[in-house]
């Protein structure tokens, strides 16, 4: 069955735990857009949500840094402050992704023991349907160089689409990340919102394939190392035209919620 839904969501923890530095009205507008994702996910009656996210050096430390990985444990659990999350993992789909992904030439790492990163559970906090759906966490290395190239991420997304379309389950795909932000650097207060706006305009015209030609250096300069998760999704959705549900630039972060018809 072809994919039933595709979205990109931000995951900045200030959406979950708001410090006084954050504009409350802006945060609530992003929540509203994520609520629209929840409505659409529910209407799509997804059997499984496959999430592509970058690890924030939480599941993987410097003991092992996989470029691309799949979590294939029975449950995926993580915590942030007072929040505790645990999701069922859709093991048959997770395993199909590992086995068929490797068969297709992508040397995926896999794990059955990782604390789940907030890049996965922040979007799900706001967008998981009321009747919880099992997930499959897919990892793309974004913060520990050398990261996978945009070209490789795009090719992986295309291969992923082939694997998912062959499944009997109704699969929704979510990329978690971005847009421009520079946590921990001298650029924290000056994201590249021009890059974000040009990107969203291109995606609205169905020109997602152009992102495969970006370089890692360009992503780093634009505060968009996490765009690799979107580029992976773009490999899966092809020339579909993006619908921008919100773009809310805060003083340090371009919050974008986007949907694709699939």
């Amino acid at each position: 069955m072809p994919l039933v839904a595709a979205f990109a969501c931000p995951h900045t923890p200030q959406l979950l735990v708001r410090p006084p530095t954050e504009d409350r009205a802006l945060v609530l507008r992003v929540h509203e857009a994520l609520g629209e994702v929840k409505r659409r996910l529910s209407a799509a009656r997804a059997d499984v949500i496959v999430l592509v996210a970058g690890d924030h050096i939480e599941g993987f430390f410097l003991n092992a840094v996989p470029a691309l990985a799949v979590y294939v444990g029975a449950r995926a659990a993580g915590e942030f402050g007072r929040y505790r999350y645990a999701f069922d993992v859709h093991e048959p789909v997770a395993r199909a992704i590992v086995e068929q992904g490797i068969e297709a030439g992508f040397d995926l790492a896999y794990s059955q023991q990782l604390p789940l990163d907030y890049a996965f559970y922040v979007p799900l906090h706001f967008a998981m349907p009321a009747a919880a759906v099992p997930i499959v966490p897919l990892y793309v290395n974004v913060y520990l160089p050398p990261q996978p190239t945009p070209r490789r991420c795009h090719a992986w997304g295309a291969a992923l689409r082939t694997i998912l379309d062959a499944r009997a389950e109704r699969v929704a795909l979510i990329a978690s990340g971005g847009l421009s932000h520079f946590p921990g650097t001298e650029r924290y207060g000056t994201p590249d919102f021009d890059f974000d706006r040009a990107l969203l305009a291109a995606l609205a015209e169905g020109r997602g394939a152009e992102t495969a030609r970006l370089t890692g250096e360009e992503l780093d300069k634009a505060g968009n190392v996490e765009l690799r998760t979107w580029i992976t999704l773009l490999g899966a959705v092809g020339a579909a035209r993006a619908e921008v549900l919100c773009y809310e630039p805060s003083w340090h972060h371009g919050n974008a919620v986007v949907a694709w018809p699939v």
Binding site: R24, H56, L62, P183, G184, D220
Partner: protein, 90 residues
């Protein structure tokens, strides 16, 4: 120009491992809040590193090879522990 998120130098591994622990391990944060100097020594950090951590000076820590994101989130988690009531929880 180096990337904002640069390759973590091997010499900075003890510092990055400590920042990772501060970010991800509530018990280490609690111990650090109680006795910072002893906690840093237990983690094998040298004099320059302990001095930079004492003021949590981002530029100095990154100059020592700390991953910028780890500096950022370790500080966020320490602040969340120290000032929980200043945050709004959704």
């Amino acid at each position: 120009m180096d990337a904002h998120y640069f390759f973590p130098p091997a010499a900075a591994f003890p510092l990055n491992r400590f920042l990772f622990a501060l970010k991800s391990d509530a018990a280490v944060r609690a111990r650090y809040a109680k006795d910072g100097e002893a906690t840093m020594r237990e983690h094998g950090l040298d004099d320059a590193t302990r001095a930079a951590l004492a003021t949590f000076d981002r530029e100095r820590l990154v100059g020592l090879g700390a991953h910028p994101y780890l500096v950022f989130m370790a500080q966020v988690r320490l602040t969340m522990d120290r000032e929980p009531t200043t945050f709004e929880y959704f």
